[in-house]
């Protein structure tokens, strides 16, 4: 276990360092001057120069890189060029929306997908299976932004049950805040649930063909008991792996849904920061996302090891 953790930590450090190099050099190459962007088309050159100095952009490239990485090592993510606020604050604020959103979507998709996948597998080739497979196809095919718009049209514009996007802030209370996350979570969860249902189904089908399942049935265990006690735990390994990948995707990839619902999440922060050439925010958020993805994958590996001890023995 210790070797496993050390290896994981090394991967983490290496990935983070590579991410800093890649994102820093890409942003150096991409044209665009944040100071000019802030002051616009009527700005006088000396005002732009003064702002560049204020932002520290007149320093040489290596100095800026070392300062940035050094700052991050001390836990200082820097100050946003456009918002003039500490990046750590910005990220914390945005994570307070993206994390609950991703968790809600994840629970929702697992809650829908795993039972559906099991049902489909146990009724292979029959109507229930077809229905689940059709749901899977549609769920994967429907773009989430389009589904999001449908949800808004139905539940906000027509029925008026939810507001059509936006986020009142946690200061407004947990009730209104969570309510604002429901539709986005559903929009995010659908495609994930579709993929997950198909994965669960095929994993369960593989397990159903195992000898021990036939043995269990032969000794008289009920279908349902076999399914829940023997098939499900074994089918969970691929499911958990995909779930982990999906969580990383949900955190980083919620940009589209956050845009449709105008949710001020991490994805939208990154998206806006790229548009505004807010180098510090883009750099720090990308590195943070890279670290989070590596961490989540490590957690999934640990979870898989807990579900099924065999691979650990082999390793």
């Amino acid at each position: 276990m210790l070797a496993f953790l050390t290896r994981r930590l090394l991967t983490l450090a290496l990935t983070a360092w590579l991410a800093t190099l890649v994102v820093f050099s890409v942003l150096e190459v991409v044209p665009g001057d944040p100071a000019l962007l802030m002051l616009g088309t009527s700005a006088q050159p000396e005002a732009v120069a003064a702002l560049r100095h204020q932002m520290g952009l007149d320093q040489p490239v290596p100095v800026r890189y070392v300062r940035w990485v050094g700052g991050m090592l001390r836990g200082d993510l820097g100050t946003s060029l456009t918002y003039a606020r500490p990046v750590a604050d910005l990220v914390a604020e945005r994570l307070a929306i993206t994390m609950p959103l991703a968790l809600m979507a994840l629970l929702l998709s697992a809650g829908i997908a795993i039972p559906l996948g099991l049902i489909a597998a146990s009724r292979q080739g029959r109507a229930g299976d077809w229905a689940v497979m059709a749901f899977g196809q549609v769920g994967i095919a429907v773009p989430s932004f389009w589904f999001a718009i449908l949800l808004i049209l139905g539940f906000s514009v027509r029925l008026g049950w939810f507001s059509a996007g936006g986020f009142p802030g946690w200061a407004a209370g947990a009730g209104p805040a969570l309510k604002a996350l429901i539709l986005p979570a559903v929009a995010l969860a659908l495609p994930e649930a579709a993929i997950l249902a198909r994965i669960t189904r095929s994993a369960a089908l593989d397990t159903l063909r195992e000898d021990y399942v036939r043995t269990a049935r032969a000794k008289g265990l009920a279908r349902r008991t076999v399914l829940l006690r023997h098939v499900l735990p074994n089918a969970l390994i691929p499911v958990a792996t995909i779930l982990g990948l999906q969580f990383a995707f949900l955190i980083a990839g919620a940009v589209v849904v956050e845009n449709v619902f105008t949710l001020p999440g991490l994805g939208r922060l990154l998206y806006q920061a790229i548009g505004q050439h807010d180098l510090i925010v883009v750099q720090s958020v990308v590195v943070l996302l890279a670290v989070m993805v590596v961490l989540v994958n490590a957690l999934v590996d640990i979870a898989c090891a807990a579900i099924d001890p065999r691979p650990k023995v082999q390793a």
């Binding site: 003064a50 936006g166 922060l269």
Partner: protein, 497 residues
Amino acid sequence: MLNHTKRLALAAALAIGSALASGPVWAQARTDLVVGMRLEPPHLDPTAGAAAAIKEVTYANLFEGLTRVDAEGNVGAGLAQRWEVSPDGLTYTFHLRPGAKFHDGRAADSAAVKFSLDRARGADSVNAQKAYFAAIAAVDTPDPQTAVVTLSRPDGLFLFHMATGDASIVAPETAGTNKQKPIGTGPFKFDRWVAGDRVVLARNPDYDGPKPALERVTFRFISDPAAQVAALKAGDIDTFPQFDTYEALPQFRDDPAFTVMVGTTEGETILATNNARKPFDDVRVRRAMAYAIDRKTLIDGVLFGNGAPIGSHFPPHRAGYVDLTGLYAYDPAKAKALLAQAGYANGFETTLKLPPPIYARRSGELIAAMLAEVGIRAKVEPMEWAPWLEKVFKGKDYDLTLIAHTEPLDIDIYARPDYYFNHKSDRFNAVEGELNRTQDQEKRNALYGEQQKILAEDAVNGFLFMLPAATVQKAGVQGMWVNRPVQANDVTGVRWK
């Protein structure tokens, strides 16, 4: 029976739904307002950034300048209740409102005025419109209620420039923190900012002027066009000024719950042309392009008919406007003949670089097609803002581009040396010099007319149309500006019917 139960359940669900939807019932006129905006301001200091969104939250609501612009674009009293101008046009004596206070209780006196103007024109100023303050030689404060501004040269637009958000008066103690916690002198004060979603302002009970009818104003930021329409339809937004999803206007016009207003902006939209590059250095080529562009089709296609054509760099709603749209009436045959004269009988290849706004992208596609009709094969290149500013605007590395110049009365950009059009006209510059020496409005208007004619004759750029200012709002909202003479969402005069 079962059917009946089902129906009851459905009715109950619907009742709950509509109860949730309608919210509290307003017995008397509402005193809150939710304003929709496309972009979120990066910060809330109007003196340190060009982003229009900053002024669209703060102008006249949070911050005041010495003077201010009203809904019609006239300059009137702001923090200064009156002023005198010396006959030579060099000395402005401003008399401040005696009771004016910043939101933190500090007096808004002549010292704050001196600080604000000196800060804007200083060596380390990061004001996006530093040029507005370039003529100031000194600011004196004979007493707390009087500020005397001395100019080094007459500036016909000085009072107008002092009315822009960039010239907002700020306090020395809070100037550094205005970006996050703006402290101004306006009738509203800053309440809270849910980053990425909304800024909330509350009525300032200590305001020394007339108090606004609204107690609470929320600015919500929704960039996605479909989401804007949905938010309006769902009732989340009360008024959406600068609504640029023009194709959605008809559905709001047809809905009695909404009103739609279409007014004017200061945004001259032009096909900016690099006058230094071949073949655009030849006036015949530039005129050929002007003949090749069908403004009517453009306005119908891009703005769904909302927007006025222009023949030079000047808005039709301003005094001094000269209608030059007939100078190069759409005539592809003439365009081809001019190109042949210039030696391009078979046309030529060029590029058209487009910044992100939807009007630019749509206009660009149409113009490329129109130019192709006369043999000019323009390759369309979409760009993001930052690279566009860096490469096209600053680096002047372009053939053609398309952009709206939204600053008011900005025809003077053609007199700037080194501006990105790479155009130089001694005739134009001579008129500009005279404009700066002229105070008389009639004479100024005549000079503006001359400038417009020079630009049109030279066909410096393709002059296309004025960006419209469309506002979609609930039928009960009154007092929003119809036109956009400056970047602002002045809600101080807004009330519910």
